[in-house]
Amino acid sequence: MNFLPIVHREMLAAARKPMTYYSRSLTGLVAFATGLGFVFAGYNRVMTAASAGQVAFGLLAVGAYVFLAAQAMLLTCDCVSLEKREGTLGLLFLTDLNGFDIVAGKLAAQVSRSAYCLLAAFPAFGFCILLGGVGLGDLAVVTLGLLNTLFFFATLGVLISVCVWRERTAMGWGGLALLALGVLFPLLGMIAIPGLMPVPKFLLALIPAGALLALIPAAGISPAMSLLIPHALGWLFFGAASWLVRRSWIPAAKVLPPRPAHATRQARTPASVPTPWVSEPANPLLTTALLIIICTVGLAAALLGPRWMYAWAMPATILLLHSVLKYQAASQAGRMLAGKRRSGELEMLLTTPYDEDEILRGCFYELIRSLYWPTLFALGVDLTLVILGCWKPWFGAGLMWAFIVAVEVVWLLVNLYSLSWVGLFQGIKLGNPAKAAGRAIFNVVLLPWVLGICFAGLAAVLAPGNTGPEVVFPVAVIFVGSLTFCNFYFAGSAINELRDGFRPWAARS
């Protein structure tokens, strides 16, 4: 038998997917535009060359970190559990394959695209060295740190996937791990480095972001340790997943809990909406818990923290709350029809008197039900922070702050609407909840930023050294245009496809 046969097969399959090439080109383009923009800013004395290099380097590193961590976790957290639910994992064990082969294959399949994207973005880091302020050593640490991030979160995702059966549980644990280890820990580290909070610094060496934080001179973290420990943890997760995958495979009927009865909920829903048969029962407990944690930390920092923390805590709390809600909307919508399509339940449902409009209405009803209270809670927190912002005397333009929050709230509602439709469509199209959620988030939330960065880079090339309103205004107009374009185009397209082609999509095996 070949060495790592599944890895070989998955790499060949990935090489034939157009998305592998598109995503790589797009990432390279965004990184190139960002780097080029700062090169022009540096050489035209908008800022000093060294500071332009440092800012560009920091932006690229943080952007790549967020992208890699999120993509690795989203793509891997349901990859083995999906096989378990479909009953195909057992078939693999009828061959000579062992747990190591399967986990390595899954890892290679899910991670290869992200690794290619990272490779495509690396040349942009070279611009920063050209500008100065960044050394080759920094570049080496960040490169290894980013590769470590990819490996750490991908192996953790596979481990989660091996341990659970249901997609909702997998995505819930994946999201929680990402938020805790990928966002909250690094944020705590950034607060701890100036010595404002008594957080033991060795804890930062346990997470992959520690390598990036180690570049801050005041951090006092050893770059070698912050690279080695997360890498070792990644191999530990990999080993645990390889060992567990053979043992966790048991017939689904013995493990899956029975579907909860929906009789009480059906009594509350309109008679024409087939909610219980259409959708997974929504459980907003995890989202609510996350929202409460973020809101408590944010409010505590805003009320008790020093002045600089107050100014950062309020926008960060609002953005984090909204991001959790957006993720929840995309993942909930993505898994609503995906599993039903794969198992053929959707096709059977269409043989009943319910038509596609009623099924879609049922899905939307369920989505609104699951997001109603979390959204209200987030809006309540937004309102509290607006009042706090206007009340604090030094916060200057309170009205401006209220206006910005109002725009962000409107944008959240528009995004939730678009993500719901796009998630539903991608779910029925791809049949994979994690991929559906990822693609919905990319199309609706991330793509406008990609376009905005590209236009900003173009503006920096066309009007070098000019930061006046005559340059900022067109870029802002184009950015707003791309934001609205991506939201409404993809939402409208999803509505169109779902209403016209629901039956053909549902009938796909």
Partner: protein, 154 residues
Amino acid sequence: MKPVLPSPAMPAPASVDRVRMIRRSIRCFAFGLAGAVPLFGLGTAFLALRLQRELARETGVPARAALMDGSAVVAFALMLMSLLYDQAGFALALGFLLCAVQGYLLLRQYRRTEPADWNPARHLVYWGAALARTGLILSATIILAGVWAAIRDN
């Protein structure tokens, strides 16, 4: 045994789902209405035009978009030229003229073409397309004017 005469070919099944067609026409109008808003309606304007093309293909209307697209390209080239010569008013006038020309061409197409399959909501498709094109022209004019202002002041 080979038959002497060729067997008569079965007529192609011309089953058009009229309910679906009417719904798509109404959706085209709704998208076009939203697309008439400059900048914010860019996405839905493209969707309305896509739906119009698909409906035309479904109902057997010959596609005659070349004249409209050609006039748009010529008008935008003229607009760009006039902006380069600091004639912003002329560019704006060209934008309005282009809207009128596109509206006239659509009206002419609506009156002169007869679809192979009857679509009772055909007028809505044309209204949607007209609104979407208006929105696209306005958005393009605003973006062009913004870019021109940036280049001129630099």
